[in-house]
């Protein structure tokens, strides 16, 4: 079974995000970048399926500028077999990303598509669901467990207030939540080996896609900053402040 994993290159989750003063966006220049943590979990799941003899080939795909290849090489080092880079300098919205992935799916014919539930940059939480709709495939979002037997996948989903178990007939699209697994680190030998794994580069023109421009980010602003508060002398003062000043305790 072929598995496609879609990954996004984002600002490293441990780096402080700074907003450009002109409101044009978040400053990514010189920022440390990483594979989106949820996508990393999706990739780890694919690798575990391969180790279990269920997946036969793992393809990772990413959309972005030239530097995106660094993220794809990391994925290859973790254990993906081949990478597809859709090279563009435009920031694509989830609908466009889903359309690009739809094209890749038509070419590659995977039985399973794994993605992170959302990127930690755009926080949209849309791409997997949109891709599933375009393909008219079943979907399982926010999964924390996956078992596959023949063409049936049993998944556990993290929903508000609990868990839900579904069974899906493959092919299907799934999005990974935090608890699905702990992604591995790539070993040095595998990093070296990844340099020789196939990585193909496509452009949006190659995919013959006309994308809509009906979604425009007009400004990006920092959130209202919190003003540092006061250090109090004891518990009694705290209780008093919470009751009478902040009025959050009765």
């Amino acid at each position: 079974m072929k598995v496609l994993v879609a990954v996004k290159r984002v600002i490293d989750p441990y780096v402080r995000v700074r907003v450009a003063e002109d409101g044009s966006g978040v400053i990514t220049k010189n920022a440390k970048m990483a594979m989106n943590p949820f996508d990393e979990i999706a990739l780890e799941q694919a690798i575990q399926l391969k180790e279990a003899g269920i997946a036969t080939q793992i393809i990772i795909a990413a959309i972005g500028n030239d530097n995106t290849q660094e993220t794809l090489r990391k994925g290859l080092a973790m254990g993906a077999d081949k990478a597809i880079h859709v090279n563009t300098n435009s920031a694509l919205q989830p609908l466009a990303v889903a359309k690009v992935l739809h094209k890749i799916v038509s070419d590659e014919q995977p039985q399973l598509i794994l993605l992170g539930k959302q990127s930690i940059s755009g926080d949209n939480n849309q791409t997997g669901q949109m891709l599933a709709a375009l393909l008219d495939w079943p979907q399982a979002t926010f999964i924390s467990d996956l078992a596959i037997e023949a063409d049936i996948a049993t998944v556990c989903r993290e929903i508000d207030g609990g868990l839900e178990t579904l069974s899906l007939t493959l092919p299907a699209v799934m999005t990974a939540d935090l608890r699905l697994n702990e992604p591995r680190y790539a070993s040095l030998p595998s990093i070296m080996k990844a340099k020789n794994k196939p990585l193909s580069v496509l452009t949006l023109e190659d995919l013959k896609l006309t994308l809509k421009d009906t979604y425009k980010v007009t400004t990006v602003s920092p959130p209202v900053a919190r003003t540092p508060g006061v250090i109090l002398k004891d518990v009694a003062t705290l209780i008093d402040k919470l009751k009478h000043e902040a009025k959050v305790l009765s």
């Binding site: 978040v26 926080d123 902040a246």
Partner: protein
């Protein structure tokens, strides 16, 4: 212009999220319809008919919607989208699961997790776990939006009863089967929606000491959270994690206890109304975000706090 809201409910009652979404919808159009999809859920429709600002309730009550699976529900909403300019749902796991599917079927974008509506096509939403706010202009003919509940007030009961229209569409979808749902019987409120959250960090030193936080949470009817450091150290399970890669919370009152204030954690809690930090390191970054701070040994301060609240 008109709005249709996909109602979140548990077949017995409508979820408060739906009522927050109704308030947001009223800012967009005068005509707000609510779609209730499920099986044997007339009571939900009846509840919603009484809410102020609801024009009519559409009820799709059929066994095929019993478990509110994304695929059939999305198809149903898509079937009825033609009459509406806006399609809304709460930005909960329920709405997030279904709405992007509807948007893609309509070949339109979705604007996720809206915290403010500027005009008919301009919306504000948090990105980077709330570390930045994005203003988006969406000019698609139909707009699919999910609404962050904490940003809009709860719609109230009105004095009139809206019409209830029955929808007979039956959608056959065999590729997904529901097996079971396990809802956590919580002794405490759910972390994501709790009014008060008590979180612990590495300063708690071990899993055993988290019991201290449980006592405090008990007094405050609070949910318990943790920093990533505490989760990684194995003090508590992963689902306690508040932070950029964990849960994003915005309670009325947040206690950060023995938490240094890593960016990761701040991103998950800085929209809380009032933040209290307890830490022995007076230079800890958490004090830059806290409204009230206590510097000292948490193993002395927390028991004192518990006593004072008793």
């Amino acid at each position: 212009m008109s709005v249709i809201i996909l109602a979140e409910h548990n077949h017995g009652h409508c979820h408060p999220n739906t009522l927050h979404t109704i308030t947001a919808a009223q800012q967009l159009a005068a005509k707000v319809d609510v779609l209730v999809v499920g099986f044997q859920c007339q009571s939900v429709a009846d509840e919603l008919r009484l809410i102020e600002g609801v024009n009519s309730v559409l009820l799709a009550d059929s066994q095929c919607y019993n478990n509110q699976l994304a695929e059939p529900v999305a198809k149903l909403l898509h079937n009825h989208a033609v009459h509406y300019t806006y399609l809304l749902a709460p930005a909960s796991t329920f709405g997030k699961n279904i709405m992007p599917r509807v948007a893609a079927m309509l070949d339109v974008h979705q604007v996720s997790d809206i915290t403010a509506i500027k005009d008919a096509q301009t919306f504000v939403r948090p990105i980077y776990a709330g570390n930045a706010l994005e203003t988006v202009q969406c000019t698609d003919e139909k707009k699919v939006l999910t609404i962050r509940s904490t940003a809009f007030a709860l719609a109230k009961q009105g004095s009139q009863q809206a019409a209830c229209v029955t929808i007979d569409d039956v959608i056959d979808w065999q590729k997904t089967r529901f097996i079971k749902q396990t809802l956590t019987k919580l002794e405490r409120p759910e972390l994501g929606v709790a009014d008060v959250v008590v979180s612990g960090g590495r300063g708690l030193q071990n899993a055993e000491n988290f019991k201290l936080l449980e006592q405090l949470a008990g007094k405050l009817n609070a949910a318990i959270g943790a920093s990533r450091a505490a989760v990684d150290a194995g003090f508590v399970p992963n689902d306690y994690q508040v932070g950029q890669t964990g849960k994003v919370v915005a309670p009325r009152l947040y206690f950060a206890i023995g938490i240094s204030g890593a960016i990761q954690h701040i991103a998950g809690m800085k929209d809380s109304k009032v933040i209290v930090a307890i830490n022995q390191d007076e230079d800890a970054a958490i004090f830059n975000y806290a409204d009230y701070g206590l510097v000292g040994d948490l193993f002395e301060i927390v028991p004192e706090l518990i006593k004072a609240l008793s």
